[in-house]
Amino acid sequence: MEVIDVPWVEKYRPRTLADIVGHDKSIDRIKNLIADGSMPHMIFEGPAGTGKTSTALAMTNDLFRGKPRRVVNESVKELNASDARGINVVRTTLKDYVKGKKNPQVPFKVLILDEADNMTAPAQQALRRQMEKYSKNCRIALMCNYSNKIIPPIQSRCAVVHFKPLLAEDIKKRVSYIIDKERVRVSDDGIEALAYIAYGDLRKSINTLQAASMFSEGDDYEIVEDDIYAITGMVDRREIQGLIQEVFTGSLGSALDAIEGMLNSGSSGKEIALQVFMEAKMDDNMSVADKITISSLASDAVYRISMGCSEVIQLRAMVAGMHGG
């Protein structure tokens, strides 16, 4: 029974490698790796929402192009390591698939193992054995956020492909495509905001866009910047920029007041400190010395707030440090 249409993130998942935005070098590398219709075991490493699983699925589509849908479906399995990550699963479910018969129309089966860095070390050891033993029958692509959590013996058996956070330009490109297809109206600053709030996580942008499309009041409603910020739990970028500006131009008093205003609008202290840091990171005109100051102060603030310190006192100390530094 279906309550809802597919979410946009699924609906607009890229079907082939050519559809994937960004990661030009990584995609070229993958194309080379599978050029002869084969593929090595692989590790896709990168933060959430950068396209690891999408790329893996698109890659198998390209690999098995021209084969009947049914054959492709039974030759590609996506398994999630978070709910099935013990050694028992590796020895049973996973093993059954890896050594099970493949369809004669394909050279090998593919197993996509999501969130592989959540697997326990013993489970990974067991997996490593199977990667070797059944590699003719099945190739494995491991998705992970941190490749250092994958045991070295597996890493050395795989081709590692890195996925960096997507550039704002790439996010805007994909988001604009969806806006066009779904016939929603979004202002230019709204699209900017969609790219900003994601920090390179395209899924977050698309989900936010779908969420924002719900409160259009009337068909002609144009979604603006403020709507985007209202549903993400982040402080408006302009406010963060204003804060940094104020501190550096000397009006400390109003910056201290602004902190209170941000907290009163419902943002959490850690988020604010993180946003200040990200802003410094992204600002090409800021001097390196200022970036160093802001980074160290923001890290102090986030650490202290994590330890249970007062949000308002720590954020004010951060701002005061920026002023004095």
């Binding site: 029974m1 279906e2 309550v3 809802i4 979410p7 933060p47 959430a48 929402g49 999630n80 978070s82 709910d83 969130e115 959540n118 996580d201 899924r203 977050k204 989900n207 936010t208 779908q210 969420a211 719900m214 409160f215 209202a230 549903i231 993400t232 739990g233 000397g250 400390l252 008093g253 201290l256 907290l263 009163n264 609008s265 419902g266 943002s267 959490s268 850690k270 988020e271 993180l274 102090d300 603030a301 202290r304 330890m307 249970g308 310190c309 007062s310 308002v312 006192i313 720590q314 004010r316 100390a317 951060m318 701002v319 005061a320 440090g321 002023h323 004095g324």
Partner: protein
């Protein structure tokens, strides 16, 4: 005078419709959109305590599910219950059972920021695989404690601390309904309540119910463990004059209240004093940051407070000595 005193006021005056929820204009606009579209996505309600998250979560499911709300909603407090086993067993089987009346099911998870990260990972998977039949409403105080993969799969609605204006509205309503007269002006009372509760509506109402209404302001400060303003004033005066010995005499007062409250009150007054001197203002803010860390992490409260005050004497009293 008070007839139905069995229910605490927080329950008695809990909002049952969105119109009664105070002060969350932006959030409510999004919430209305969600309800109108029949809860099409998973939702995180984020904000500090007592801002109406649970109230709104219940209103959403009531509006969206109507009659079948009892059967199709699971409400859990995540702090103590939601671990790996719970997600794999109880939660999974709740989601797999077909729903009453054929509509969607909803899981309300309160305090989701307290779910350990490995369990959050399992939850994330379940959220994805049950997308067609089940929705999740998570509430949390600290959005940053929710893992990124969950955050990128949900829409987040921020609840802000209730403003003094919102407090005026609610205490006026309650006092009128209960037939009680406050000894001080309601606006003044609301301002003080805002200061000591940080806009936590539950705490506001509980405090209102328990305080001595003939002498509300002092009683509020005493009840919630704050120093009375007059004490802070005198401490600040002694700091400016560099009279550490006089402050030592006040230590018993400072020890009775939590350092967090004391720091907050003293910082506010110290900022007022330094408003014209940016260098001092910057120094003061950083000293408070350092001592906040010390007092939170460890440290003998008395000794650290004296340390803080000594530093302040140097910064703020320096010009006059």
């Amino acid at each position: 005078m008070i007839t139905s005193c069995d229910l605490p006021w927080v329950e008695k005056y809990r909002a049952t419709t969105l119109d009664e929820v105070q002060d969350q204009k932006v959030a409510l606009r999004v919430v209305r959109g969600i309800i109108a579209n029949g809860l099409p996505m998973n939702v995180i309600l984020s904000g500090t305590q007592g801002t109406g998250k649970t109230t709104v979560a219940r209103i959403i499911v009531n509006e969206v599910l109507g009659d079948v709300v009892e059967a199709n909603v699971m409400e859990v407090n995540a702090s103590d219950r939601v671990r790996m086993d719970f997600i794999r067993n109880e939660l999974r089987s709740f989601i797999q059972q077909s729903s009453m009346g054929g509509g969607m099911k909803v899981v309300i998870m309160e305090e989701a920021d307290n779910i350990p990260p490995d369990a959050q990972n399992a939850l994330r998977r379940l959220m994805e695989s049950s997308y067609r039949t089940c929705r999740f409403i998570l509430t949390c105080n600290y959005l940053s404690n929710i893992i990124d993969p969950i955050r990128s799969r949900c829409m987040t609605i921020r609840f802000k601390p209730v403003s003094a204006g919102g407090i005026v509205y609610i205490i006026d309503k309650i006092l009128k309904a209960e037939g009680i007269k406050s000894a001080v002006n309601i606006v003044t009372l609301a301002k003080e309540l805002k200061k000591v509760t940080d806009g936590d509506m539950r705490l506001v109402i509980n405090t209102l119910q328990a305080c001595d209404i003939d002498n509300p302001i002092e009683s509020i400060y005493d009840m919630l463990g704050f120093a009375r303003p007059i004490t802070i004033d005198s401490v600040l005066l002694f700091i400016k004059k560099g009279k550490l010995d006089k402050i030592l005499g006040k230590l018993n007062v400072m020890n009775r209240i939590s350092h967090r409250n004391f720091l907050k009150q003293l910082e506010e007054r110290a900022f007022q004093e330094c408003a014209g001197d940016l260098l001092a203002l910057s120094k003061v803010a950083r000293v408070f940051g350092d001592y906040d860390e010390r007092l939170t992490l460890a440290g003998n409260q008395e000794l650290q407070l004296i340390g803080l005050i000594s530093r302040l004497c140097v910064i703020m009293g320096g010009a006059e000595n």
